[in-house]
Amino acid sequence: MFKPLLSLQRVGKEFPARGTGKGLSYKAVNEVSLDICPGETVGLVGESGCGKSTLGYLVLNLLDLTSGEILFEGQNFANLNKDQQRALKSQIQIVFQDPQSSLNPRFKIEQIVEEPLRLNGWRDKQKRKERVRQLLDKVGLGEEYLARFPHELSGGQRQRVAIARAISLNPKLIVLDEPTSALDVSVQAQILNLLKKLQRDLNLAFLFISHNLAVVRHLSNKVAVMYFGRIIELADTNELFNNPLHPYTKVLLQSIPNINPEKPLLVEVEGEIPTLHKSPLGCSFHSRCSIANDLCREAGPELQFIKEGHWVSCNAMSRGRKE
């Protein structure tokens, strides 16, 4: 067993709910536990509003936890002093979905990539410049880009710049928040290949957040499926895609349109994703689940071990085992 690089332990995040009256809050992330080992990619999939981006922000320490704890190399961020917090922050970086918004439009590419260096003790201008060149080279951009502005670059090139910036401080973990969703298919392939290469070269761990299951499957070692703030299934990638156990995971996988016209789309789920204000009791999926029973409407299941590399949170699974 590897020692995990990042360990989430029953992490929760509540936000005050606006417009619903006083003192109410909703749980954007609810009792999430997850380990990420050095050099591995964990995919985090789910539909909009399921809390996957919030979880990413929690990992980056951009938001405070409501409950639970996050350990990075065994250390709890909250217990560190300011200098240690800074050092730890530089170990975890992010690449956002929209490189248009994640790059300051008033900065030149050189200024964008050197920003983290300047903020982390690279005082020597010459060394910094050298490092920026080296970083751009790593992501496949030449020197001629140094003096350009983000709007002069294509979407794919901008995402390369964002990646160069993310690896500038030699982080151990990068949160990839839908890094290819805003890109065209042909460019998406370039970026995915680049990420894979960098992971090999730099021994990076990725927390790969996406709603695109095909892309997640391509890049991840294991995949966590989130629904309504909880991880409802967690398994090694092949296991999850070949043998999904949670009814929601099954529905999700069946909903992906297949490129083969002869494999028709099966729509097995009706109804809408519950909104935060109408959060159902019990298992959050019961309102759309085809095998829900009274128990599901009352009691939310816990994530439970099924077999090596596969955990599921579904009442039907425990039922099945008892019978």
Binding site: R86, I94, F96, S102, N104, R106, L119
Partner: protein, 279 residues
């Protein structure tokens, strides 16, 4: 060549903006070259030529002390431009600093700042400028300062609104992940990105600032005689309006044209900085 083509395209598509720009350009050039282009000394008294109508020697006539009105208008352009740019500059600078800090910090600081701004905005701006100017002592410099202070809330509100949205942008989040301190985020990320609307507001505001400065001078709380200031000239000329119409009219027209120039140009700048403009 490319610049020329752009200019031609632009003139055809936005004639009013170009008109505004040309007016501003002319006013600025005239004020810079005042000693060269003015036919007479604006301060020399010539009691034999009092209140002469427009003619070949005095193109726009003379005032009650025999001073050439055209020359006084040319020199007056300097004061009006100084007033306009100075007021907007001071107000904008304070507005940017206060607004961005207030927006980024949020919470109690923000609440306190914004309530103070609300109170200032609750007064009619001319009345507040009048009171401040009178309290500081009536001279041209103080009138600029007074109007600038009155205009600060406009910029604070604008910049704070921008800062609130920019601080949620992802490049600010990214900067936080490399441990950027607040001063860094304000100076590097927030201020540069909220400048566009401030520039628009400032360009549109120059016209109004010139107008208020002239108004204070008209009332006697701004530039003092014998300064050649448009508002003061209108004020002095108004008693002669029936018989010597040119005395008050020409400085009034100068104010009107300059203000129009800045307003037209400001509207154009606003359109240009609107992202939808670039289609």
């Amino acid at each position: 060549m490319a610049q020329f083509r752009y200019l031609r395209y632009f003139t055809k598509r936005y004639p009013l903006t170009v008109t505004g720009a040309v007016i501003i350009f002319l006013v600025v050039m005239v004020s810079l070259a005042a000693p060269l282009v003015s036919p007479h000394n604006p301060y020399t008294l010539n009691l034999t030529d009092r209140l002469k109508p427009p003619g070949s020697i005095y193109l726009l006539g003379t005032d009650e002390l025999g001073r050439d009105i055209l020359s006084r208008i040319i020199y007056g352009a300097r004061l009006s431009l100084l007033a306009g740019v100075g007021i907007v500059g001071i107000a904008g600078l304070f507005g940017i600093v206060i607004g961005s800090v207030s927006g980024l910090l949020g919470g109690k600081v923000d609440q306190a700042v914004m309530r103070l701004m609300d109170i200032m905005l609750a007064f009619p701006s001319l009345v507040l400028a009048l009171a401040l100017s009178a309290a500081l002592g009536p001279n041209f410099r103080n009138s600029i300062l007074a109007i600038a202070i009155v205009k600060i809330p406009v910029y604070v509100r604008l910049v704070r609104g921008q800062a609130l949205s920019i601080k949620e942008r992802q490049f600010v989040k990214a900067a936080q992940t490399f441990g950027a301190p607040k001063v860094w985020i304000i100076s590097r990320h927030i201020i540069p990105n909220c400048l566009s609307p401030v520039v628009v507001q400032a360009t549109l505001g120059i016209g109004e600032a010139i107008l208020i400065a002239a108004t204070l001078s008209f009332i006697g709380l701004g530039a003092q005689p014998p300064a050649a200031e448009w508002g003061a000239m209108v004020s002095m000329g108004r008693i002669y309006l029936l018989d010597q119409w040119w005395y008050a009219s020409f400085p009034g027209i100068a104010i009107f044209i300059t203000v129009i120039g800045f307003n037209l140009f400001g509207d154009g700048v606003r359109d240009m900085l609107d992202p939808r403009f670039h289609n």
